[in-house]
Amino acid sequence: MIRFFDVDRVIPFMRYGKTTTTISLGTFIFAVWALWAYGLNLGVDFTGGTVMEVSYSQPAQLDQIRGSLESTGFKEVSVQNFGTSRDVLVRLPVSKSANAAQISEQVMATLRANNPDVVLKKVDFVGPQVGKELYDNGALALFVVAVGIMIYLAIRFEWRFAVSGMIANAHDVVIILGMFAFFQWEFTLTVLAGILAILGYSVNESVVVFDRIRENIRKMRKASIPDIIDASITQTFSRTIITHLSTQIVVLAMFFFGGEALHNFALALTIGIMFGIYSSVLVASPLLLMLGVKREHFLREDKPKEGVTADGAQV
């Protein structure tokens, strides 16, 4: 049997509580600062505007393309390589004119006049109103997911679990957002979808640890709460690492083979998975302790129940 982790010796996670809380707080503050100082590099989905991907059979002359577009009247055009030297990304800010949708046609006409072998690969045009709606809906989705999960945890466990689980995951989300702000990676709808998926996914982690804490509270009658939490984390640690490793393997495959479109999506997932482990082990559980979880919270209500589900899942 291959074992990455020796689970016979309990690791005293809670003793490091101060250190880990400090680290968490540090990263969290850094992320908030990055968000405040740099702001998210919102993609065209949210800001509105036009983004075009074109490709040439020869390496593209960016300066020439930029020059001809500027002389056609597109003053605020951004032209850059994308993936390879033959692929070009043209970005135009949102336009007030009524037929903004025609911009991409005019750009293509200009590019074709310059070099007939240009091929249009993709156009995303989003009007300002639609961009704002997508943004609002995204924020609403984030909120709905957070509240939904909290309600679920509160029903399934207890409010202290719900609160600490949610803070731990909000911490993850803020850190992902902070990283995206700091490195100015483009924040698109797909990235948002990734963050929401990771929110659901990393709550799993807290659920598994919480499940075990609940089980051990009943089993380990003489142990103190911090000891119980340490034991629970230690016992589930192997599974935590293996699960995240396998998910990360898939995400890496996406990162390397998924192309530009999935690049930032995979990045968001990677950060989410890394911090998901950290936060559920080292943020959620100390918080639980701080909120004053007690043995009585579980012993009382569980007496009449029987059967597998009632006595809580165990791993």
């Binding site: 025609q102 999960i149 399934r156 929110l199 699960t243």
Partner: protein, 603 residues
């Protein structure tokens, strides 16, 4: 204890077979095809059309592999893209005047699969290439237009009732009618409220004037807005039919928006042009008495408007509209007696009557035909009325080329929009990009799967093999479900498949770790397996439910490709719970369940 009853094995086997069958069509690829559908929605694709299409193709020297009726269209498959193009041209020439002829791709899966409704997954535009438009209907314009109609109605009503008024003016969607005496005003309110119950009539007393402020009642406004969207969708449908797109999607979204998806369309400029046009035709009388030169200098006579004719001459046209494009039932390109390009127009009954009256009363005068497009009005032609024109057949000349006359005819035939629309979102994906996206998504899945399988087998040995097979089953179930439901698969959706595979393995890790723990605690192998599966189940349920919450919220609030991701995420969670627990358990039971004295398991 680790035995399933026979029916459970059979059920799992049956489900796997069904899933396999419905996954199959995805592996056959696609063949080029041409699809012919009648332009008029009232017409059905029937055997006669099928025979005509086959004959037309044969006459062009192309042989179709199969031809059949599917829904409201006739579809013909071809062996190569060359033959497909040739056949399309032949069909366009033979049947194009009454039918939409469009290139399409059909699944190459055998007939028996199609007959059990096993179809390949429905690919989103980001995977198959095409255009997605979101159009915003300008509701304010719809209401303004209604106010213009109201204005005309009031004028007619007051005239018929012989009620004298001093002025009718319109400001936005409000109409104001002025009178010199209170009695006239009150008589008008009475007459109008009887004739037009949809109107809000508010009397106002001024110093020397008495007036009525006329607005539409809220429910009438709502009806007009609903109607505007419906009418625009119908018009878009007609226009898209003219474009010849195989499987267009035209749907209302929200209160005032329309989604148009045109898979496979490559000439986006043309599509945008035709869809975005808000061409309306108006027929008005030319003001012969007005001074054109003075008007050009800024002194436009009251009740007139100054426009440019095609040749660049200014022309004074009366504001009163004789007829609008709404009265047009058909328009076709052609030539006049002098062989100049022309458009032949047929008017509906009411339009024909009005046209007859107006031409009779205005013989010798000129009539202007105006095309309003993108907010710009142009006088196409201003012929002199030679005689009374009855029967509703009108010929318009003044086009520059046959191409232009056929464009104008198309726009007129496709009908007028009830209100102008603007494109507020466009997503175009080129065909090569679609193929690339499929390859990328597929590769992510392939390598992700291979790596996870290697890792699981390395770490858990035989149980790793079971977990991997369960994971493969999960993939099979997921693809089968997506194919059956014909849910739209997008690139984020493909990423979602990979992600759910990565996350699905979590359930097996939970089980395997639990079994190991039971073994460490001294349980017998059989008992450890049993306890491992039983006890891991609740945790699996819990942890998947939280992801399901996220998936449902994404589906609810997401749009387009993100929604595709949400569908895959939700379905993947459901299939993974089944396959990770039940399918892997079946394999474990089959392998170990029959050995009562099992002393060791490979985990």
């Amino acid at each position: 204890m680790n035995r399933y009853p026979l029916w459970k094995y059979l059920l799992i086997g049956l489900l796997l077979v069904v899933a396999f069958l419905y996954t199959l069509p995805n592996f056959y690829g696609e063949v080029p095809a041409v699809q012919v559908s009648p332009l008029k929605t009232t017409q059905q694709a029937d055997e006669a059309l099928l025979k005509q299409a086959e004959a037309a193709v044969l006459a062009a020297g192309v042989k179709s592999d199969s031809a059949f009726i599917d829904g409201n269209s006739v579809k013909l498959r071809f062996a190569s893209a060359d033959e497909q193009i040739k056949a399309k041209d032949a069909l366009q020439a033979a049947l194009g005047d009454r039918n939409t002829v469009a290139l399409n791709l059909l699944s190459a899966s055998p007939q028996w699969l199609t007959s059990i409704r096993a179809l390949p997954m429905y690919l989103g535009l980001d995977l198959r290439g095409g255009v997605h438009f979101l159009l915003q209907v300008d509701m304010k314009a719809a209401l303004d237009k209604a106010a213009i109609r109201t204005q005309g109605d009031i004028r007619t009503e007051l005239r018929n009732g012989k009620i004298r008024y001093s002025r009718i003016a319109r400001e936005g969607n409000q109409v104001e009618v002025k009178f010199s005496t209170r009695d006239q005003r009150d008589a008008a309110i009475q007459a109008l409220s009887r004739a037009y119950p949809d109107l809000n009539l508010t009397g106002r007393d001024g110093a020397e004037e008495f007036s009525i402020a006329v607005t539409l009642k809220p429910e009438a406004e709502r009806r007009i807005q609903e109607f505007a969207v419906k009418q625009n969708i119908q018009t878009l449908r007609n226009r898209v039919n003219e474009l010849g797109v195989a499987e267009p999607v035209i749907q209302q979204q929200g209160v005032d928006r329309v989604v148009v998806q045109l898979p496979g369309v490559q000439d986006t400029a043309k599509a945008k042009d035709i869809l975005g046009r808000t061409a309306t035709l108006e027929i008005r009388l030319v003001d012969e008495e007005g001074d054109v030169n003075a008007a050009a200098a800024g002194q436009i006579p009251f009740g007139d408007e100054l426009y440019q004719s095609r040749d660049g001459y200014p022309i004074l046209v009366k504001k009163d509209v004789v007829l609008t494009g709404d009265s047009i039932t058909d328009a076709s390109p052609g030539f006049d007696n002098n062989n100049r390009p022309a458009v032949h127009i047929n008017l509906d009954g009411k339009g024909a009557r009005i046209f007859k009256d107006v031409t009779r009363e205005n013989v010798g005068r000129r009539m202007a035909i105006l095309l309003i497009e993108h907010g710009q009005t142009e006088v196409i032609t201003a012929p002199t009325i030679q005689e009374e024109i009855g029967g509703g057949r009108v010929q318009i000349t003044g086009m520059d080329s046959p191409q232009e006359s056929s464009d104008v005819a198309l726009l007129l035939r496709a009908g007028a929009l009830a209100a102008p629309m603007t494109i507020v979102e466009e997503r175009t994906v080129g065909p090569s990009m679609g193929k690339e996206n499929i390859a990328k998504g597929f590769n992510s899945n392939k390598w992700g799967f291979v790596a996870v399988v290697l890792f699981m087998i390395f770490y858990y040995r035989v149980f790793g093999v079971f977990s991997s097979l369960a994971l493969a089953a999960n993939g099979l179930f997921l693809i089968a479900l997506l194919s059956m439901l014909q849910a739209t698969l997008t690139l984020p959706g493909l990423a979602g498949i990979a992600l759910t595979l990565g996350m699905a393995i979590d359930a097996n890790v939970l089980i395997n770790e639990r079994v190991r723990e039971e073994l460490r605690n001294g349980a017998s192998p059989q008992a450890a397996i049993h306890a491992g599966y039983e006890r891991a189940w609740a945790t699996i349920l819990d942890s998947n439910l939280t992801t399901l919450i996220a998936g449902i919220a994404l589906f609810w609030l997401g749009s387009g490709p993100v929604r595709g991701f949400a569908v895959v995420l939700c379905l993947g969670i459901l299939t993974s719970m089944f396959s990770a627990v039940t399918v892997s358990r079946a394999m474990v039971n089959l392998t170990y369940g029959r050995k009562p004295r099992l002393s060791k398991v490979s985990i």
